[in-house]
């Protein structure tokens, strides 16, 4: 058991912190599921935090000079290096604290990147930071493609999805690979805490972020983030999709505490995957064959996860 969890108090809907650390007035699209998640993440983290952000939607929408949406210290350098920047900040604060140059109180160091920054271009940097054991949290906001540049595929794009670089044509039928399992890659580093979350279950999301921040050492939270602009659905359906993806078992919610998988929400009667795929432009070309492949693979992946959670 992780001793830091003794200090952990669950968030409750009635007593949510009122203070916002990500100000309104930023330039996110209507119904952006990513910024909804980010707002709740910031509420969970509170004031004593330094955010290191990768290049991407959240960076662009929050910091057009001379404006900023950030009420906490924030730094962006390049696309791939948020985890390394966080490593430097964490190490620097350690020395500054030791030398008495900054107050002794704890500051959470949090690196945030999209799925491209995390699973593609920044993977080596993240691996390095997780392996070195820095006391920081990495949060991946996964909207399943490079949305900031106009919806190109990433290794987190789901099978079959149409993106601007996996277009539908005589030969092309969308993304041909299965979504890269980033949480499993994080777990393979032997870090103390890994979790997945969805903004539809915002208390669960906030609790996981808080726990990740409390734990000493590197932690990783993978957050599903629906993108109305890139996926092609009505903005008011963001939260609905963020719930459906869990109810269809396509994006299971779980924690991995010191290597032990714990399901946050076991889905006994799953909805058919079609319910999730329906109404998203990126999936509307799917053949019956493709849909049935997705269903089989989703079920199989979920079973693997259940088996992991049953291991003692």
């Amino acid at each position: 058991m992780i001793s830091e969890f003794e200090k952990f108090k669950k968030f409750k809907a009635k007593t949510l912190p009122e203070e916002e650390f990500l100000a309104s007035g930023h330039r996110a699209c209507q119904g952006c599921g990513e910024v909804l998640a980010l707002r709740m993440i910031m509420k969970a983290l509170g004031k004593n935090v330094i955010i290191c952000m990768a290049t991407g939607c959240m960076e662009i929408i929050t910091t057009p000079y001379p404006q900023t949406a950030w009420k906490v210290p924030w730094i962006h350098i390049t696309f791939e290096n948020a985890a390394s920047v966080a490593s430097g900040i964490e190490s620097a604060l350690k020395v500054l604290r030791r030398k008495g140059k900054v107050p002794k109180r704890h500051i959470d160091i949090v690196a945030i990147g999209g799925d491209g920054a995390t699973s593609d271009i920044g993977l080596g940097w993240i691996s390095g930071a997780l392996e070195r054991g820095h006391d920081f949290t990495y949060i991946c906001l996964d909207n399943e493609a490079y949305m900031n540049t106009g919806a190109q595929r990433s290794s987190c794009t789901p099978y079959g999805a149409m993106t601007s670089t996996t277009p539908i044509g005589e030969k092309g039928s969308g993304q041909v690979t299965w979504k890269k399992n980033m949480p499993a890659i994080a777990v393979a580093h032997g870090i103390p805490y890994v979790a997945t979350a969805s903004p539809a279950y915002f208390l669960d999301l906030m609790n996981k972020v808080k726990k990740a921040a409390l734990v000493k050492g590197p932690t990783y939270v993978h957050v599903y983030a629906p993108c109305p602009t890139g996926w092609g659905f009505a903005p008011e359906r963001s939260i609905e999709l963020a719930r459906l993806v869990v109810e269809t078992k396509a994006f299971p919610l779980y924690e991995v505490i010191e290597g032990h998988y714990i399901m946050s929400r076991k889905i006994s009667k799953a909805k058919p995957i079609q319910e999730y795929l329906r109404g998203q432009r990126r999936f509307r070309h799917l053949s019956e064959e493709q849909v049935s492949y997705i269903q089989r693979r989703v079920d199989a992946e979920y079973e693997k996860l259940i088996k992991l959670s049953e291991m003692k």
């Binding site: 330094i50 057009p64 950030w70 920047v85 490593s87 430097g88 900040i89 940097w125």
Partner: protein, 383 residues
């Protein structure tokens, strides 16, 4: 103070330690590695109160120290060749964010073909990243440049990062007697780093915002203004260092050697200048103008130093493919406004570590006398 004979890299590392960095991060690459190995040893023995962060690439090394620098901490890294090339993207971000990092570059050729020996193609390729660039002639100068580079970089009206370029092997691996300044002297010369803006939850700030066409150019103009200010500081800090620690190098920007009555002038940077001085001692009418600060570029100073010569031979240890040596282009451009211009020619020398000896310099001067205006010679080429 007495001379110590030890490997150049170790002398450099010792003086880095005297500058009290709080965080060092690096990735192994020849011929830089001995510098950070020595620093790792000093950290491990408790000689410096710093964190040494071992990373998975040079890109990560510079990202780590940039993060630390943004917390208000003096930092250090060193690299060479491919490592510096891998850092390239971040170099621009660091100067744009006005974080005064200091790195030592153990100069080495770039691939392909793979080559671990010395030339200037690595740092020359980073010329336009808005980093200050200093080139050392000797280990002693490399050692003396360290505290000076931090002082210039951290000056309030500069706040730009700096590279100390030290010829790989020729200086990093040589055993040369050096004087290492005392800790008290360095402390008196280099005050603790206290930047105006840092990452602090008590005073939240946004570092690295994006700027539209409406603002971007002004940020870049500020960088150029800072380069101008750096020029002034380099001169003044060189004088101050001479007074306090006992060694100075020309006016800080350039150094003149036997230029009083020189008809032929050689312009060069780095360790080859030692060989050049040796050769010049044995020749009539030949002098040396050594560029010590390449960025900011000492155009006026070069104009003044070279105006009365007849022939100028500019040595480049890198090449701009499709044209000529980069130092040559710039020196020639600096002299363009002279009413009567000396004849200027360019020698591409010692790429990939090909050795240059005193005898070669006699040959080079002979060739310079026969060169036509603007002629580019690949020196000692086997074709």
């Amino acid at each position: 103070m007495k001379y110590i004979v030890q490997e150049g890299s170790h002398s450099i590392a010792e003086v880095i330690a005297l500058c009290r960095p709080g965080l060092i991060s690096a990735f192994p690459i020849t011929p830089q590695t001995h510098i950070v190995e020595k620093l790792a040893e000093l950290v491990s023995n408790g000689k410096i109160d710093a964190e040494f962060v071992n990373v998975e690439s040079e890109h990560s090394a510079i990202s780590v120290i940039t993060g630390a620098e943004a917390c208000g901490m003096r930092t250090f890294s060193a690299t060479s060749s491919q490592g510096l090339a891998l850092m390239h993207e971040v170099l621009h971000a660091v100067s744009g964010m006005r974080l005064p990092l200091v790195m030592v570059i153990a100069n080495r050729a770039l691939s392909a073909p793979l080559n671990i020996w010395n030339d200037h193609s690595d740092s020359m390729a980073q010329r336009d990243t808005s980093w200050l660039q200093f080139y050392a002639e000797s280990v002693q100068e490399a050692v003396d440049l360290i505290a000076q580079a931090y002082r210039v970089a951290e000056s309030r009206d500069v706040m730009l990062p700096g590279m100390i370029c030290v010829d790989g092997y020729v200086l990093t691996h040589i055993y040369e007697p050096v004087l290492i300044p005392e800790q008290e002297k360095i402390d008196a010369f280099l005050p603790p780093y206290r930047p105006e803006y840092i990452l602090d939850p008590e005073r939240p700030m946004t570092f690295g915002a994006y700027a539209t066409p409406n603002d971007y150019m002004e940020f870049k103009w500020e960088q150029q203004k800072a380069m101008g200010n750096a020029k002034r500081h380099i001169v003044q800090i060189n004088t101050e260092y001479r007074e306090l620690i006992g060694r100075g190098y020309g006016n800080g920007l350039i150094e003149l050697y036997h230029m009083e009555n020189a008809r032929i002038a050689i312009v060069a940077m780095g360790s080859i200048c030692g060989t050049l001085k040796e050769a010049i001692d044995r020749m009539e009418d030949v002098g040396l103008v050594r560029i010590r600060a390449y960025r900011p570029f000492p155009a006026e100073e070069l104009r003044d130093a070279l105006r009365d010569t007849e022939t100028i031979a500019v040595i480049d240890r890198a090449f701009s493919y499709g044209y000529e040596g980069p130092v040559f282009s710039e020196v020639r451009s600096a002299l363009y406004t002279l009413k009567e211009r000396p004849l200027m020619c360019n020698f591409i020398v010692g790429l990939g570590g090909r050795d240059t000896r005193v005898g070669d310099i006699f040959e080079l001067v002979k060739k310079a006398k026969e060169s036509s205006e603007g002629e580019v010679t690949w020196f000692n080429l086997k074709v």
